[in-house]
């Protein structure tokens, strides 16, 4: 309809940060997840 070209590059899947590295900086973690108090 419009004479426009998408200039964004294609998505390139790549590994995300290792979960252990990310959790290492968290104040509390458990079973591979951030640990927080209950929501209510």
């Amino acid at each position: 309809v419009l004479d426009l070209e998408n200039v964004t590059r294609p998505d390139r899947p790549r590994p995300s940060w290792p979960a252990d590295d990310v959790l290492a900086g968290a104040p509390a973690a458990e079973n591979g997840a951030f640990r927080v108090p209950p929501t209510s």
Binding site: W17, V22, G25, A26, P27, V36, P37, T39
Partner: protein, 487 residues
Amino acid sequence: MSVETLGLTAERCVELLDAGEVSCRELAEAYLDRIDAADGELNCFLRTRREQALGEADALDRSGRSGLQGVPIALKDILCVRGEETTAGSRILEGHRPLFDAGVVTRAREAGLIPLGKTNMDEFAMGSSTEHSAFGATHNPWDRSLVPGGSSGGSAAAVAAGFAPLSLGTDTGGSIRQPAALCGVVGLKPTYGAVSRHGLIAFGSSLDQVGPFALTVRDAALALRVIAGHDSCDSTSVPLPEPVRIPDREDLRGVTLGVPADLLTQGVEPGVRASFDAALVRAEALGATVREITLPHAAHALPAYYLIAPAEASANLARFDGVRYGLRLEEPGDTVVEMYGRTRSSGFGAEVKRRIMLGTYVLSAGYYDAYYGTAQRVRTLIRRNFDEAFAQVDLIATPASPTVAFPIGARIDDPWAMYACDVLTVPVNLAGLPGISLPCGLSEGLPVGLQLIGPAFSENRILESAHALERELGFDPVPPALRETSA
């Protein structure tokens, strides 16, 4: 060879290294020893990285070096360094060790610069005196009873005190140029997008920009050459239209400087105005044409900035909630909402809380258009004012700060007085333009900064003119008190 680091430029460091008069290790050790000996009185550094820095220096000594390799640099603690504590001057990030290097840190490493440590700053870059650091105020090397400016006060004071020949800071509303002015060093805020913000802990994302401090304009150009350019991790960064040149111009023939008279009525101290006027006379002697211009909406920049920047900060700082990194109290509460509240109440300082609340308010339904929307429209008008001005002049000149360094504690309880420190610098951030502060003289025995502002991506034009003026002015950036101590 023993190295006197006070007043030692990055260019001279390179000469010493190239000539083999000093090794990378000896140079880094000289700076680290000076920090150890003298920073207790100034508090420029939150932490140094002696072991890592000397290891990096040894590696360069073994492999051979060239260019800037082996020149030390200090980093504002808002720039992430992989695996090394990065706090942004806040208790809420105490102990935080990032997973990656900031884009500018990567570039500094690639150039062989050796980071000596992380410098003190106002918490999350919110302040103009470095008194809002959670880790104590930094003192001005010209007079320890005075502030160094902020928020990059640690980086500015470190260069003035001979703790590093180069440092990096960030400038959201003047946080490079104002402390450079108050500490008598050169500070450059690049065009928005000229330098990667990846790994810079965000304050105001449409305003933040990383830039260098140095003792000379040429050194600032050397550092800018290292850090500038596109980074695929920051989609707002772009390739520079031309490489950064190391300036060598000796005159200002053909350069027209515009002086916005309407801005100079904004609380500029008489002594600052006198130094500024004297520098303009010297610029004319070098061949520049000086003419008066108007920036009619620049007087509204400060209120617009203090709506836009807190609005962006309130969104950016929402991530600090005690879940993924940083502080969480021993007793976080029974629910996650309680944990958020306790973490943030305990972890943030008063100024950060003030700006989060202000920003949240101006973004709230019913007030958004009245405050934030209006501020954005003012921002557009300011940008147009600059466009119109640069159709008439090559560069705009103002003082970088309306005052010289003021006493520690004098403004800490008066937010509006503290915000007024930025009156001459915030218009530049709102318009996304480059600006430099170079020392142009003394008032009351303290340094005065001259700000040169240019169109977007005119860093080379700014650097050339600033270098010519610097040569003419002949300012000695070594604080007299430190020279006496060092002698």
